[in-house]
Each structure stands twice: as structure tokens, then as C-alpha cells.
Symmetry: D2
Subunit: 294 residues, 4 copies
Amino acid sequence: MEVGFIGLGIMGSRQAANLRRAGHELTVFNRTRATAESWATEHGARVAGSPREVAEHCDVVISMVVDGDQVEQMLLAEHEGAVSGAREGALFIDMTTIAPSQTRAIGARLAERGVAFLDAPVTGSAPKAADGTLTIMAGGEEADFERARPLLEAMGALVLHVGPLGQGEMIKLINNAVAAVNCAVLAQALVVGRATGVDLEKLMEVMGAGAGGSTMLALKGRPMLDHDYAPLFKLAHMLKDVRLCLEEGQAAGVPFPAAAAARELYTAGLGRELADLDFAAVLEVVEGLAGTRL
Amino acid sequence: MEVGFIGLGIMGSRQAANLRRAGHELTVFNRTRATAESWATEHGARVAGSPREVAEHCDVVISMVVDGDQVEQMLLAEHEGAVSGAREGALFIDMTTIAPSQTRAIGARLAERGVAFLDAPVTGSAPKAADGTLTIMAGGEEADFERARPLLEAMGALVLHVGPLGQGEMIKLINNAVAAVNCAVLAQALVVGRATGVDLEKLMEVMGAGAGGSTMLALKGRPMLDHDYAPLFKLAHMLKDVRLCLEEGQAAGVPFPAAAAARELYTAGLGRELADLDFAAVLEVVEGLAGTRL
Amino acid sequence: MEVGFIGLGIMGSRQAANLRRAGHELTVFNRTRATAESWATEHGARVAGSPREVAEHCDVVISMVVDGDQVEQMLLAEHEGAVSGAREGALFIDMTTIAPSQTRAIGARLAERGVAFLDAPVTGSAPKAADGTLTIMAGGEEADFERARPLLEAMGALVLHVGPLGQGEMIKLINNAVAAVNCAVLAQALVVGRATGVDLEKLMEVMGAGAGGSTMLALKGRPMLDHDYAPLFKLAHMLKDVRLCLEEGQAAGVPFPAAAAARELYTAGLGRELADLDFAAVLEVVEGLAGTRL
Amino acid sequence: MEVGFIGLGIMGSRQAANLRRAGHELTVFNRTRATAESWATEHGARVAGSPREVAEHCDVVISMVVDGDQVEQMLLAEHEGAVSGAREGALFIDMTTIAPSQTRAIGARLAERGVAFLDAPVTGSAPKAADGTLTIMAGGEEADFERARPLLEAMGALVLHVGPLGQGEMIKLINNAVAAVNCAVLAQALVVGRATGVDLEKLMEVMGAGAGGSTMLALKGRPMLDHDYAPLFKLAHMLKDVRLCLEEGQAAGVPFPAAAAARELYTAGLGRELADLDFAAVLEVVEGLAGTRL
């Protein structure tokens, strides 16, 4: 299949490489053209001058950019957007994390032009993108998903069709909001442990073996003890996801108080200039609240 | 070793059976004597008429009762309490979940009488008690722990000395508070998912594979979807543990806002007469808040 | 002074009437022209066909519309917006409640065209608009405020210059967020009182005389006891203000946890279809959480 | 009427003086006898050697001590407690702030001995105690309240019979919990205002004139701006009252999430060694959370 790929950043470059490895011909576009040229030299691909040009050459176009405004620009911009070059029966797949409501709005505009659309955000960071072991949750029509499946499976280990358009994004947001809460709770538990004289290594061992266990404990417990916030997922990005989740909740009239409380802690992280550190740095906020250090 | 065991309830009877299996001679006491007689007939043990009598026969006395007031009564009551019969060099081990501050107060009174003391609460429910695969976290002197270790290892798979007296209890309380929060967050995530049109099976699959994963998701996700609250750990007991954790936190001047928020949800569970159901029934409260059902 | 007035809704029509009473000549615009015609017949005013036409006739143009998007359209729309007709040295005053960041963005675009700008949102509802007893908090340049003062004092009893552009809006949002919290706390206190057997009349009397007193108690206590939610300020509008306040807080990296918690309660009000009732209807959400009724 | 008064501390000494001024004969007791002697010399009163001796001389005995345990000791202690000397038809009135459940327990034990009992806690600090302008909310039998009324009216400006025994205490706790929340919200609003560039004087003026107004704003706004925490009501005492309110709520199965969140902020105040400052010092905790200063 000839596949278009828009956005060759940290994630996109690794995902596109896995599509090449699976034998697909690629036409790529990146805002900084030099990045695209260099990638194409290494992996073999046609470099397009615009998203429109990508779409002119490919039946399927994948986007992996920064936010919803970029997705809109890449896919819908008047002259150079991919939709302007879309072939008959084209399928666009957006893998960026954006608001479900924006996904649906983009899908509606693509549908007017006869273009099918899937949202297929991912979880897992750069190493999993490189290994092709991402979790990919796709929203959209079943038939479109089946058409996309071989491509998605080249990039992910767990590939799920989760429902109509936008539901991939929504599941991703809820998953991240739960992670944000569990991480904030972990930070609080460690601070409570320290203040009550608990051996934190033992606390982590007991929680890990028991009811208090979580992916966040496994991933962030040790870094918190070390105050090591080398960014795997930046605090500012986690905050963005929690905020989007709450916005969708508000639109649906459904409360998510634990996420709302967590949002305020991560917001205080922004104020402390922790935005570009790993979101485990929420520990600093909890320490500030308690007036103590681990 | 000749071992005394006070409290042959759901947990205690199974733990004591594992001590028998490991070859220890037992003297047992239970408030309802018939229970003790029947247990002794099945497993082989001397039945004592009082905690004092237990202590007269054994160098090590284990208690596994309901709450701190019962522990005090069993160990410290003026004429019939175990301390009244304690041998020279005796070691008492309390495995009940009680407040760390009460543990330390009991320990201080035992120390005046020359009795060593460990707190060794457990995590894991009846099946793990039966299998001898509990997690046991013990607080107290290192030497006392080493003396107790063979007994504890007959009852638990993970047996840890976690620090001074009371720290076993404190770690248990923090672990349960984190579980209470993670469970409440899970309930909220499911309700948000339903209200935003998400496929909850897919949401659970994605969270389980990713950042939102937790022991609570693994244990309580399915029962929540089914509104199945057959009690593995009663909501009232979970609420008690969260409350004790917050009390210790207040005494230490350290906040635990996530646990405080969870406490109010479980409190509302009491008001809804969910006290004797599994604590996963906190979902009912979240549904009441949202005004929807899963 | 010849004054333009855009937006003759419930508030605007009353405010403009007070400007007339104070002797100012008015040119008015309303999206539904018939409303403007009828108002002009009653009060005496020139009716303009567009915001541009308003600006062509007046040195000062006041807007009182629904939200930030309408303000942008009225003031900045390419051909018909007020800015297209602005006289040299014109001053625009927006009295709508919108996001401070949007106010500043609008102000920047007006400044490029040489138009001065104040934000001057109000507190107080229709009766106070009619009486000319609103509280008006204005942000912008001191000189512009002094120029506007006679107009603002015709509409308000307390007229304050609170700081640079946008700060009128920010103070209004914080004030409303505090009100939203105090109202939600009141609802909780009443529900706690009922559940603990308290005489709620006596509770309100004691709080009113003491430390628990608040404007919200004075305004919303009785309606809550009566479950009377005739809208003085709609729950949906209060929720919008709390949300805007939190958004500004997030942008500034400052947490507001009490408002975040309140936001979730009002959000649950949306889900319960209370959007168009008075925000005192948050009591229904608190009752749903508690599983009881007052 | 001959009246007994137990506890001549900051509040009690002023209240008792107002009883003297109203013409009542007093028999007083204080744990530190010198305090009682000195008070009696100044105001004229019989000094008793024990609570029992107080009760032997008076039909009505008022207690105003520190906490529930002291009330129990003063009224119920085996040989020297007031109950041991109670006359036939005696009425005891406790004005200390204690848990309603403890009030009811004390009342039950007094009833067994034929002694009537009212709880009549107060709001208002030393100056209002001196002026006789306290707010007094009494729980108990109507007839007992009517008997006590002339005494209570000598000490308070607003004297209310609020319901059965314990309800005076419960109303007081709810009132204080609401105050604790409103005060914490005020602190948050000021910190948000500072971080978003707002003029805090103007913010306070607008809130005071509008929806965000509260007794807490009037009493604590200025001290917060000045970081002046001279204690009118100590943070530790406010925390105690919030905690008691939440305990009663939990017993009744009713949630009070706003108070629970506030409790954690005041708890962090303990950890910051603010216990003996005014509870307005919760601002320090909010500043610590936000990582900023007003």
C-alpha cells in the first residue's frame, strides 16, 4: 500500500520507520523539510512539498503532529491541506492526541469531501514507537479500521477498534487522567510515609505486592524517591490531557473530581516551572503543600 | 516452638492452621469458646480459658482480633489479659489492623511488664490466609522480628520487617488508603467513560495495558461493570482504614488530600447502606453524584 | 457625550436607559433590529444598522453582549465591526463577562487601529441594572477610565478602576468562583445538618450571625431549603465563569483547588439538566452525592 | 439563682463575670485554685475545692473547660465529679465545644443520676464574652432551656434553643466547618489574584460588595494581606472542630467534601508549626502549594 505520513518528530519518525520495515511505500511531509529529506535518505521515501502533495500520491494518509490546531492545518488548510489533494476513497488517520470534539469536527469536514477518517492515538513513549509495540486505540467506522489495521499493526502491539470517531481520543484521555491521579496519589502516599516515619522502600514493596499497586508505582516510585524527573512524558503534556478530559466531561455533564483535584496539583507544577520535566515532578508540588521533602 | 493464638475468626483460623501445618504446638483462645473447641478438635491444639492462660503456656502469643479495643482487652485486661500470664522473655505479636499510635501505646505498657511486642498486620484476604501467602509487614525490634520470622513465614509469602513498632500498621494503612483512592478513581473513570460514550470493555483493556493500570483495576473493574459487590473487603472496613490513615496524618501534620476526598465518597457509601458490601460499591456513590448509571 | 451602545438584552437595555436618564445622546445597535427600534421609541435614541455605524457616530462605544465571540464579532468583524467606523481617539468599553486573555487580545487589535479599550464587567442582576446600582470593575488605562467614569457612574453604585486591561474580568471571575464555592459549601452544610438531625432554620440563623456567614447564605439559603431554583443567575453561566477562572489560573500556573472541586459539582448539575436553573440547584447534586434530600 | 461555674479561663472568667453582674450568687471551681481565689476576690464568689462541692451548693452548674475529656472529668469523676454532689432536680449546662456524641453520652450518664443536661456552646471570642454578646446555641429539653435562659441571656446576645441534646454542639461544628472552608477559599482566591496580576485591595472590595462576600472575608482578608496571624482562634482549634464535624458526618454516613479538603490544608498548617497562630495562617499552606507568596 502506498502510505502518506505527515509529521516526523520523535514519535512519528519511529512509527513511519516501522511502516517502511513492513514493506510499505511512503510519501512523507514534515514542516521542517530538512528533517523529511534526511529521514527519506535513511529509510527510503518520497518527500512531498505539502500535505496536499502527500494526499495526491497516497490512498491512506497518517498524521502525527503536535496538537489539534496543527492537525486542522495539515489536513484542512485551504490550498495546501491534505484534503485538497485527496484521492477518491481516501482514508486519513490521525494519531495525534487531540480533543475528541475536535476530532469529530475534523471528521465531519472530511466527510463532506468524501474522505474517511479514523482517530488512532497511541500510548507508550519513544522506545515503544521504535519497537512497534505501542498501544493504539482507534475510533471510526469498522470498515475503515479493517483497512487501516495492517498499518496500525506495523506500529503497535495492541491495536484496538474502540468505537466511533473520537472514542480513541476519549479513551486515551481517560487513561491518562487516571494515570495523572494515580501518580499524584503516589506522591502523597510517599510524603505521608516520610512524615509518619515509614521506610519508603518497604512501603513501595508492600504496595507493589498489594492493593496499592499501579503502573504509576512501578514507573514513577523510584524516580520520585530520587527526585529524578528526566522527562518521559512532560508535566505540561500530562496537564493538557487532564484538562482535555475534564473539558469533555464538562460538555457531557459528568464530573471527574479526582482528575479535577489532580489538575490543580499539575497546574501548580507549571507555576513552579516544572512544565518540561516528567510529570512525576508533581511530587515537588505535594512536598510544597506539606512543607516537607522526601 | 509453643505458640499462643488469640482470635480464630475468618483470618485467624486459617493463619493458625498454617502454624499447625508447620509443626508448631498451639494453645488457642477465642471469645466464643465453642469455636476454639471445634478448631482444636480439627487441627489439634490446647484450648485456653483466657488470654492469660494462653500466655502462661507459650513464649510467643499472636493476636488476630477485630480492632484496637479488642487487642487492648485481650493483651492488657487486668486479671485475664495475656500480660498477666506472660512468661519471662515473652513476645507478643499483634496481627490486627489498628492505629499505629494505639500499637505504640500497647507496646509501651507491655514493655513495662517486660514483654516484647511486634505489630504484624497482613494484606490479602481469606484465600491467601488459607494458602499461607499473605503479605506481612512487621514493626518492632529487629531481634524480635528474627525470633518471629519462622512463624510469620508459615503464614505469609512476603514477610518484611519494615521498621520500629507501629510501622507495620502505618504501611498497611497507607497501602489501603492508596487502594481506596485508586478504586474511587476507577469508578469515576468508568462513569466518565459511559457518559462520553466510551466502550468500557475497551477502556479497561487500554488502561490495563497502560498508564492507568492498577491492582484495583484488575480486581474491581469487572465487578464494577457488573454492579457485583460480593464483599471481599467491606466498604466499612476500608473506610475505617482510610480514616485511621488520615488521623495519623493529622497527628503528624501531613496532608493526604486524595485520601480525604475518597473518605467522603466511602462515607456516603455508609449513608447508602453499602457498609457490608465490597468497597467497590463506592461506584454507587459516584453514580449518585453524576446522576447516572453505568 | 454621544455614546454608542451595542446589545440591548436584559442587562444592556437597563444600563442604556440609565445613560439616557443621565442625559447622554445614544446610538444603539442590537442584532434583532426590532428590539433596538422599540427601545429607541421608548427611550429616544438613533438606531444604527451595524456596529460600524454606531462607531461612526460616537466617540465612546459600549458593548454588552453574550460572550467573547460576540464581542469579537461586534467590535472586530471585517466590514461591519465597530472598529471599521471608529473615529479618531475613540474609546470602546466592553461590559460583557469574557476571558481576560480574550479581552487583552481584542485590546491589542484595537490598539493597532488607534482605539482605546476598557473591560468593565458588572456584578449584580437585572434589578441593580435597572436601579443603576451595579458594581462595575474596570480594567485599562487610568486616563481612559477617567473619561469613562461619568458613563459608568450612571450605571453603577460602586465603580472601580482595578488595574490594567483584563483585570476587571479577572476580578469578576475570581469573585464568582468564590461565590460558586461558598454556595456549594452551603449546600453541603445543609445536607450534613439534615443528616445529623439539626434544625436547619437554627443552623442558618447561627451561621448568619457568625463565622459561617456569607452573601451566598443570605441569598441562597432560603431558596435551597425550599428547593426553589428560579434563575437569578443560571447554573450554566456560573459554571462557565468558574471554568474561565480555572483556565486563567492554569495559564498562570496557580492552583485553585476549591474552585476545581466546585466545578465538578456544577458540571454534574449540567448532567442533571439543571443548566437553566439558578446555580443554587447545586444542592441537587450534593443531595445526589449523599443519597438524601433536605 | 445560685449558680456553679467550673472553668475560669479566658472565656469562662468573662462569662461568669456577666452572671455576677446580672445579680447571681456564684460558687466557682478552677483546676488552678489560685485563679479561682483571685477571680472570687475581684468579683465576689464562693470558691469550691472540687466540682462535687460546686454541685452541693447550686441547682445549676455551668462548665466551660477545654475539651470533652475535661468535661467528663469535671462532671462525672467518681468521687470529686459534680454528679457526686448533685442536688435533686439539678441542671448541668456544658458550654465547652465537644463532640455531640460525647455530649449525648455524658447526658445519658447524668440522666441515670437524675441530673438534667444542656449543651450550650458559644461563638464569638473573648471581647464578646466580656460584653455578654456571645451567640449561644443550646441543645436539650425545652423546659431545661427555659430554666437556663436567664443565665444564658446574661452571657449572650443571641440565645437559641436549637433542638435536642447535642444539637448545640453539632450546629457549632457545622458553622465552624463552613468558616474553615470559606477562609481557605479566601486564601486561594487571594493567591490566584496575585498570580494573575490582580490588585488585591480591589479584589477584596469587589468581593465584599458582591457574591463573594463572607464573614471570613471581613475578618481575615486584611490579616491575610498583612500575613498577620495574631491568634483570635487558633488554627489547631479550628482543625479540631473541622475534624469533629467530619467524624459526626462519617457516623451519620453523610459526606462533607469541602470540609474534608479544608481539613487537609489546616493539617498541613500543623506540619508547618502554625498550630498556635490564627487559622488565617492557612494562607501559608496555600502559598506553599502554589509556590508563591502574596
